[in-house]
């Protein structure tokens, strides 16, 4: 984040102080280690946080929950000094503090464990644990490597991790790298540890280990703020839960006072209509045929068959190679072996794929799906620009009409079709991407994480749309890390692990257990 902060005048700060209602110590409870009061943050024309409160006490695991866009990340960044709040204040042990840099937050013993560990890959574990504070000896002072490794080993042992302090961090697994970060936090005697969606890419076993470590830290008095969205994890771990919605504080309660339904209601603001509807139709003629697709070191021997009216789910862990397969099928990435045919026609380039009726909604919406700075209408028209234009000359009227038509069909909420998608919510940006690809009238649609970062309301709409498209005869390849979503929508589920298809399951036999087993364990390859 490279946002420029306005220098704050004393008057402005005064004004903010007046604005914050003084709340005094909550009914005799211990003073929170870290507290945010009426914190707001505005980016551009968007209110990311609107007068949010949060208080963290020593020795508790506090879950911060909310849909994407609810303001979790912004609040986290404020707590660790990346952003400064526009209104409100932060308090450490009851005293007002001003974190103008992440270093200032660190001085107050606040540590953050990022989703992606931010470590120096080429340095050894011990160096990473003590980065910037390596034990020194001699004169002139040199790094005391032996002492550093011994101390790192002791810290890692405290966390119950068996890691070689001399190992190179780049060679570690994600879970191990997280432990290294945590050892670093421990070495700084962090009293507040913020963990940001640490489990997204972990196997169930690794998640269990991580939770054991977090509980151990809590029992030693560390205040832990856990950001996540898997409800079962939240219930297994959290002592208290704070829910944010649309940048606002909803409530903060003991975890025992919540059940799954009440949490969802708090997050979404209403009861959610049935997710995952699916009208099954008999699959029609074969459309997409992939044979022996391979890319050296990424995936190999991938076969795929998609028939009209069929939804095939592609499950697996992050990094299993699902996105890479989709990119190669569409022709964006080079293939080392294998063929892709749509209704008998060989496809090599994205242009051929698009012409033959293949559409690909990519995973990274803001980077690959939609040009956030350019108008919605231009985005929607891009894949079929040649057809919308007149001999190479743009026809803006037709572009707008096209965008309006698809916007209405997908219930896109935007001011008008000349608006830049940057200003839209994640769900509506995704609708722009869907509109853009559906406007090509594809016969085969590849959806890569179509509901990631999308609020529950839009998710329901997207599921309904996927179902309608399949019922109308489209063949759909659904890549998703949301297992319930894959299981409910798919006719067949393929599971990938480490670049190979490890299971092909009919929807009746596709249980979460079988899918997870194929995605994680050493499983026997099943003919696709």
């Amino acid at each position: 984040m490279k946002r420029r902060e306005a220098p704050r005048t004393p008057e402005r700060r005064e004004e903010e102080k007046d604005h914050v209602p003084e709340i005094e110590g909550r009914d005799g409870a211990a003073v929170p280690v870290l507290e945010a009061r009426a914190v707001s943050k505005v980016f551009g024309g968007t209110v990311a946080l609107d007068h949010v409160d949060l208080s963290l006490r020593a020795g508790e695991i506090h879950a911060l929950l909310g849909e994407n866009g609810a303001g979790k990340s912004t609040l986290t960044r404020i707590l660790c000094g990346v952003h400064r709040p526009d209104t409100g204040e932060l308090r450490v042990d009851g005293a007002v503090v001003d974190f103008h840099t992440p270093a200032a937050a660190q001085e107050h013993d606040i540590a953050i464990l990022h989703q992606e560990p931010s470590l120096f890959g080429d340095l050894e574990v011990a160096e990473n644990v003590f980065v910037g504070r390596q034990p020194k000896h001699g004169r002139p002072p040199r790094i005391d490597r032996r002492a550093m490794r011994a101390e790192a080993a002791a810290l890692l042992a405290e966390l119950g991790a068996e890691l070689d302090p001399a190992a190179r961090v780049a060679d570690l697994s994600l879970a191990e790298a997280q432990l290294v970060e945590m050892a670093g936090a421990l070495s700084r005697r962090a009293r507040v540890l913020i963990v940001d969606e640490p489990t997204a890419a972990l196997t169930p076993g690794e998640v269990g280990d991580l939770f054991r470590v977090l509980r151990g830290l809590r029992d030693r008095g560390v205040a832990i703020l856990f950001i996540g969205h898997r409800l079962e994890e939240i219930f297994a771990l959290a002592d208290r839960i704070t829910v944010l919605r649309d940048g606002r504080f909803v409530d903060s309660r003991a975890a025992a006072d919540h059940d799954e339904a009440s949490l969802i209601r708090a997050m979404v603001g209403r009861d959610v209509a049935a997710l995952h509807v699916r009208t099954r139709v008999e699959p029609g003629e074969p459309l997409l045929q992939v044979r022996g697709l391979a890319r050296a070191g990424v995936f190999e021997a991938v076969d795929l068959d998609l028939r009209s009216g069929e939804i095939v789910g592609l499950a697996g862990l992050v990094g299993a190679g699902r996105t890479e397969v989709a990119r190669a099928v569409f022709g964006i990435d080079r293939r080392d072996a294998g063929t892709v045919e749509l209704a008998g026609e060989r496809l090599r380039t994205p242009q051929q794929a698009m012409r033959a009726g293949l559409a690909f909604v990519p995973e990274d919406r803001q980077r690959e799906g939609v040009a956030v700075e350019l108008p919605i209408a231009a985005n929607v028209a891009l894949p079929i620009l040649g057809r919308v234009a007149f001999h190479g000359w743009l026809r803006p009227g037709r572009e707008r009409a096209l965008a309006r038509e698809w916007g209405e069909r997908l219930r896109l909420k935007a001011r008008d079709v000349e608006q830049a998608p940057r200003e839209l919510s994640g769900g509506n940006q995704q609708k722009v991407v869907l509109a853009k690809w559906l406007a090509t009238r594809p016969r085969v649609l590849i959806l890569d994480e179509p509901t990631r970062g999308v609020d529950v309301g839009a998710k329901v709409e997207i599921h309904r749309l996927i179902d309608e498209l399949a019922a109308a005869g489209m063949a759909i390849l659904l890549i998703s890390s949301d297992l319930p979503e894959v299981l409910a929508l798919s006719d067949r589920v393929l599971v990938m692990r480490e670049g190979r298809v490890t299971a092909a399951l009919h929807h009746a036999e596709a249980t979460p257990e079988r899918v997870m087993q194929a995605a994680t364990a050493e499983a026997q390859a099943v003919a696709a």
């Binding site: 420029r4 551009g44 968007t46 994205p350 242009q351 040009a371 700075e373 350019l374």
Partner: protein
């Protein structure tokens, strides 16, 4: 204009450049009694034409996140090729075609080096800038070629309309119109904006980004060669250092005109306004008898100003939007995190 469109223009770089142009005209008029004169304006147009021609290709190159620093050297090499051929009795048309082909090939080399090897165009064109200049030196050494056919020289005094508008003026106006239409009204231009604004989105939507870039480098080289013809005709002589330092002026014009060095934004209109601005400033400096070195410093200052202005305008725009929103929260008005949904 709706209030939103008005606000967008008011906070645009183009508006800033228009204001600068007005200020420059007023200031130079005060400084010199000879400035406000139709003949002087005609002279400014003649002097700006070669820079403007190259800027027409540089604008879309900047939009697509690339840059061509070799344009001055390409112009020099093309001028030398033309001088050699024309002074050795090669038919004029053949010499002209060979010159244009030289520029196109130079651009092709840049484009292929950038796209095939995934290199940064700053580095590649810095290299070819030296390479092309070196080739020009190797061909003519330190001699000056002045034996050019009369039918070719002094195009800057061949008038199309009255005694103000020359044939090169008319040709440049047509080229600018064509560039504006191609960049802002054609599918190619649309793809250029996508490739510059979100390269991955463009690739995922079937846009051949590399092919676009090669085409734009070829256009840049070709226009540099055509500019070489105009310059040679005007100066009636060719030397190995013809056109050196021109890339600085071209870039100043393009960036001052609001093209974003990070890509995705830029207009031919803005470039033309900035071209007029730089022309007025240079004319003012000439009328004021500023030494050459000082003139380069002024141009460099303008370039820095244009880059800083871009950042400042962006910050102003964001601040204005944030202030509107923050005022709403303070006022306790009902609002949503994304005001538009």
């Amino acid at each position: 204009m709706s209030s939103r469109a008005a606000r967008r223009f008011a906070f645009s770089h183009e508006a800033f450049t228009v204001v600068l142009l007005v200020v420059a005209v007023v200031v130079v008029t005060q400084l010199s009694p000879y400035f406000l004169d139709a003949q002087n304006f005609s002279q400014i147009a003649t002097d700006s034409l070669e820079i403007g021609l190259i800027a027409l290709a540089m604008t879309p190159l900047i939009v697509v996140r690339e840059i061509d620093l070799s344009v001055g050297s390409t112009l020099g090499l093309a001028a030398v090729v033309f001088g050699e051929l024309a002074s050795h009795d090669v038919p004029l048309l053949a010499a002209v075609l060979a010159t244009v082909a030289t520029g196109a090939l130079a651009g092709l080399l840049n484009g292929l080096l950038v796209t095939r090897f995934g290199l940064s165009s700053i580095v590649v064109t810095l290299g070819t800038m030296a390479l092309f200049r070196g080739l020009a030196n190797a061909i003519v050494g330190d001699q000056t070629i002045t034996t050019l056919p009369d039918s070719f020289t002094a195009s800057d005094t061949r008038y199309a309309i009255g005694t103000l508008v020359t044939i090169p003026h008319v040709l440049f106006a047509l080229a600018a119109l064509a560039a504006a239409l191609l960049l802002h009204r054609s599918t190619v231009g649309r793809r250029i904006f996508f490739a510059g604004s979100s390269p991955d989105v463009a690739t995922h939507s079937g846009v051949r980004v590399d092919r676009l870039k090669v085409g734009l480098f070829v256009a840049s080289g070709t226009l540099a060669a055509i500019a070489a013809l105009f310059m040679t005709s005007r100066l009636q002589s060719v030397r190995a250092d013809t056109g050196s330092g021109l890339e600085l002026l071209v870039l100043t014009v393009v960036l001052l005109g609001g093209a974003d060095i990070r890509g995705g934004r830029g207009t031919i209109f803005g470039t033309l306004v900035a071209l007029a601005l730089v022309g007025v400033v240079r004319s003012g400096m000439a009328l004021g008898d500023l030494p050459d070195q000082a003139r380069v410093a002024v141009v460099g200052g303008l370039l820095l100003l244009s880059i800083c202005a871009g950042v400042a305008i962006e910050a102003l725009r964001r601040r204005a939007a944030e202030r509107r929103t923050t005022r709403r929260i303070r006022g306790g008005a009902e609002l949503r995190p994304t005001p538009t949904t």
